[in-house]
Symmetry: C2
Subunit: 408 residues, 2 copies
């Protein structure tokens, strides 16, 4: 286990009706003037935006509004927010929505104190310094962003989808999480969120750092809970209990609970980012396509951790010599590691397809003839010739994985 | 799942050599004058105290010292600390040690701003208000106190062992956790810590709140990791990796990671507190005696959650009708719930004895003829006629559990 610092100071206010507390929470964390950031119509139609405004009014907090943030949020909306901030001068950012809204709010929070172009943070030209504090009312499970110090923004001009990470400053002060708010999400969005949170867990799980049993076992428990609750949510979108379990999983999948003291692997996320930057697909749906392909390739070249996942989470039974240590896949015969790992990868792919009704190939994603050369070229332009991680990926390797994602 | 707030703002600094950062950490959290609280000789002998002082010197922080805190810390040591605080006027408490040291430091932190007798907090006569901030250098895994807002103090005059709980104010600002510092712990103390952290998890696990799968699965993962790492630590006390896994488990066992949105059950802890108040036994050893007895009784009267624990963590195989839902013990035939639960309780008892070399009966604890009537009377004096929880316990019931703990 590597040295680590675990710092998750966000106050998570979870449960029915908790959005009524948002005014008091803003005051508690120092707000005097609030910029509300939100997305499209559902926050308005459901009455949530009005309830949030009423809570701010009750706390005597003036506010301005930045609506219209879209999925895969882009640079112009951040500029719009920064312009608004210059005139309204908020001292607190309140995101009401999912990951795109939160990431936009965080980026405005970081850009407000910066003289130059905020995009400098994303291309490594500047580091995030002072930030406005951010609060969240979450409407989509598995944003993850409500408990993390990360934000991702797409630059449509340069066709880049890039992230910033500042574990201290960009982490929300509070996150109101009412599972009832997620009940009206369409199946597509619910399922995309679930595949995204599972990827968040598995990308932390796939590591070469030895002796990280506690993180492994917690990650496995989280995946088992998700796979138990997901069919209930798909069958009955108004199942509060299943929504609650899924929503909380989405948060702890992304706040480092299961990734401490280990090297992580974010290469499949990076590979998906190229797809959604080019074809504007839902991030979680893109992951349902890429992740099984990624795991199939790993099952072949570096199977041991995939085999452990397959055995402990996906129910694949190993067939081992009687004296083998079942809990240490590293010591299994390599052929058996590969067999179990491949069976697990394919089982996960079927599960994404059959249970979540997610696409699991480019064609099912609505891209029958993807320009893989372009995706692969941009991937390595953004991430370097060799992407380090659980298994180092060069352009030849990532092309093989993209090609595996052509198969239904 | 019930509504909950999860707030764990402690900065955990984990890994080799991290105690060198303690001066900077105190400064970061506002210290100008520090009171160091510690226990007996090992902190001195190992050189840790000198390293901590050197780090404070390097940060130009003046300090005073309160040494000699003993296991099951008592009221007079708190008075001594409060006297010292009146003359030295620290604005930061630094606990260097385990649970007893941390709890003493927290209590002094709470008492420093209170005009009356600090014991008022423990008997419910006053509420904890303003507190000095507390930092921790942890030397014993499974204190739990390094990440919690709780403290327990024994009053030898009134023979009461009571706790206070203030999730916001009493939570340490930071906790330095270097697994190397735990390598010299004797087997007895290591094993007591492990049984204590397992009890912390299981007392949260035993709940009647339905639909708490994510917490259940994480708790099960934590217990599996502990049971995998514990034999390694007992076999080789200098196994850094196993020490690291155990140490981190001890913290998250007690910071609410696996207990959110549920009723908890702390009755076995309360039953053990009476034993260690009367006979001054190590808390974790007392729990190794009480917990299996408690589980055996629950296996009889209210088995479903104990059966789930037995199946998922302790490897007991259920024998069910073919159409039964294996993941929902509530729907199993009651006799099968009881059989699996009892097998699990006995397996855990054997594991405490065979792997941890813990006592599992009063006699093995060195109390061949415990005064059960006295323990039981005090228990209900402190906790009321009926103790609510996973299963409500009156005096007749707790006496049955105490009596089960007479059996080897």
């Amino acid at each position: 286990m590597n040295n680590f610092t675990f710092y998750s100071p966000t106050e998570f206010c979870f449960g029915r009706g908790r959005e009524q507390e948002v005014g008091q929470l803003c005051v508690k964390y120092g707000a005097h003037r609030v910029m509300i950031v939100y997305g499209g119509g559902s926050v308005v139609r459901s009455g949530l935006l009005e309830r949030v405004k009423a809570a701010l009014d009750a706390a005597s907090l003036p506010y301005c509004e930045l609506g219209g943030v879209r999925p895969n949020p882009t640079v112009p909306k951040v500029y719009e927010g920064l312009d608004l901030a210059r005139t309204f001068k908020p001292d607190f950012m309140l995101a009401v929505g999912g990951g795109s809204v939160i990431d936009t709010a965080k980026t405005i929070a970081a850009g407000s104190y910066y003289e130059g172009d905020f995009w400098d943070f994303f291309i490594g030209k500047a580091k995030v310094g002072t930030c406005l504090p951010v609060g969240v009312v979450l409407t989509i499970p598995a944003a993850g962003s409500e408990g993390s110090g990360n934000a991702v923004i797409t630059n449509e001009k340069t066709l880049q989808k890039l992230g910033i990470r500042q574990p201290m400053l960009l982490r929300p002060k509070f996150a109101v999480m009412n599972p009832e708010l997620t009940m009206t999400l369409p199946e597509w969005q619910t399922a995309s969120g679930i595949s995204d949170m599972m990827a968040h867990i598995m990308e932390r799980y796939l590591t070469n750092t030895p002796d990280v049993q506690i993180g492994d076992r917690m990650a496995e428990g989280m995946l088992l809970a998700i796979m138990e609750e997901a069919p209930k949510v798909i069958a009955n979108p108004r199942d509060y209990e299943a929504r609650a379990n899924i929503m909380w999983c989405g948060t702890i999948a992304h706040n480092d609970t299961c990734s401490l003291g280990r090297q992580e692997d974010w290469n499949s996320h990076a590979m998906e980012h190229e797809i959604s930057a080019e074809y504007d697909v839902t991030h979680g749906a893109g992951l349902a396509v890429i992740f099984p392909a990624f795991l199939q390739y790993m099952a072949f070249v570096h199977p041991h951790k995939v085999a452990q996942l397959a055995m402990r989470v996906l129910g694949i039974q190993p067939n081992l010599p009687t004296d083998a240590d079942i809990n240490n896949t590293n010591t299994w015969p390599i052929a058996e590691q590969q067999r179990v790992a491949m069976a697990g990868a394919l089982k996960l792919k079927s599960w994404f397809h059959d249970v979540l009704h997610m696409p699991v190939s480019f064609a099912q994603l609505g891209i029958p003839q993807p320009n893989l050369e372009l995706l692969n070229e941009r991937l390595h332009q953004n991430k370097g010739a060799v992407m380090p991680g659980y298994f180092p990926l060069d352009a030849e390797t990532t092309m093989k994985i993209y090609k595996l994602a052509l198969n239904d």
